[in-house]
Subunit: 307 residues, 2 copies
Amino acid sequence: MSIDVLQEQIRKMKNPVMVGLDPYLPILPQHILRDAFEEHGQTLRGAAEAYYRFCTELLDRLCGIVPAVKIQSACFEALGADGITQMQKISRYAKEKGYYVLIDSMRGDVGNVAEIYAQAMFGTISVGETAHKLYDCDALTVNAYLGSDGVKPFLPYCKHDGKNVFVLLKTSNKSSREVQDLLSGDRVIYTAMADLTMRWSTDLFGKYGYSELGAVVGATYPQTMRLLREKYDRLFFLVPGYGAQGGTAKNVQFAFDRFGHGAIIAASRSIICAWQKSDSDGTDYLDYAEAAALKMKADIGKNVVIL
Amino acid sequence: MSIDVLQEQIRKMKNPVMVGLDPYLPILPQHILRDAFEEHGQTLRGAAEAYYRFCTELLDRLCGIVPAVKIQSACFEALGADGITQMQKISRYAKEKGYYVLIDSMRGDVGNVAEIYAQAMFGTISVGETAHKLYDCDALTVNAYLGSDGVKPFLPYCKHDGKNVFVLLKTSNKSSREVQDLLSGDRVIYTAMADLTMRWSTDLFGKYGYSELGAVVGATYPQTMRLLREKYDRLFFLVPGYGAQGGTAKNVQFAFDRFGHGAIIAASRSIICAWQKSDSDGTDYLDYAEAAALKMKADIGKNVVIL
């Protein structure tokens, strides 16, 4: 896909929401754990199979409602090889269902290492004369503290293959100010990062005016978001921090341009763990997830009209 | 281990060198690839098995010469689950051989995600009532652009289990200046990061005076390194960029304190690919690696005496 296709999917579904899949065992319904442990024991394989079922059932249920999905890489890495096997399967499953798939790994490698990582995530890995497709996701998050060297290896994929990279500007967590808000001349670090992202964006602008390189801007800092939206009107925003972290529909309205374009709002726990806020035993967790996703869509829709 | 044990291993071997294992197919000797492909075909499994043989043979050969090893996570992630399987095995193999093992993943997650990642890397992952040990490494690199939230989940392991985290301050790549060298008041960003690292270090100082939280400072910026060494005399430096990237033995002398303590110099390609700079067919790659490691030790020893 590309940032244009993402925007079109959002328009089609009238829903600028990206559901976050960051499974860990305490948020999984008991019946899923029980079945997985019965088949595979209390093993990493068992846990990973439970993640797969949980995530793919959510993908089935939210298909057609939510255009995009964010897979939290570290959650799967934490289960070792079994976790990675399932992450690859979930990524492919989501693609086949038509989702825009972002893998949230916040990497910041450089040189050869970043090149190999980009190949694995966006392209193919060649072993001898055989090319292997591994993750084939649409987008990644990248931590650009190392500067251009950490981003350039991804740019050919953005230019030629419709892949996207979202650079961390201002993250949703409380301590993000410690580094990101430091003042440097007439800029703060997150605007310096935005300026770099614009510089890397040469030739990467799509038909809606947005760059294939996006920006991560947290829902928890609405004034910052508003300023960034005004100043960087060609950077598509990926907005984490909605729901469980405190970001509201009112906050995130500032992420959008006057056409209701240019942003997607990510939410994970408030959707995939919605059942835990009820007295449900978890067997109907999909109903709660769907209701939460529809409510989020409606809440955002009160302030944002997508043209 | 802990930063004290690392320092003691360095003293014992009189060698402040960490060998970097960042395999990718073009640097592997032909005979290793041939054998692996014969057994497993041109598959990701085949590539991963080749990585395992390459890395463990190097670990065997360099054992007793080099005290520490750095495993480049992204190289293994790029082979998917097969790569991760072998990375776990290589990490355990290195530990059993007595190496101090750092996994270089430069992560920058926060909250639950960082906690789960810390558990997987430093502790155990519980599945039902069963605890699984996965990577069990001694140290990680962390990108702290997200501030305290990205580092605090690791601190209990530093305090109670002798684990170490190396925070990226000033990296060895060319574009590191774009963000890291921005001026903020009377500091640059990398010193702001160093100040944060010192703040997170409360109660984490070992008997040599160094914190369990270290700092990544590139060999390619000797003047910066000298200033950082003077100002932050309680941060242990992990120094990448030696050899292939241009850092020299003369440069890295500034990383050490007057006892020759407080730093470890990482080198990867200049050791593990040393055979490629000769007319060798690669069958004797271990001889070249050993010679390069011994030469690096001798070169550093010209300027640094470890007391």
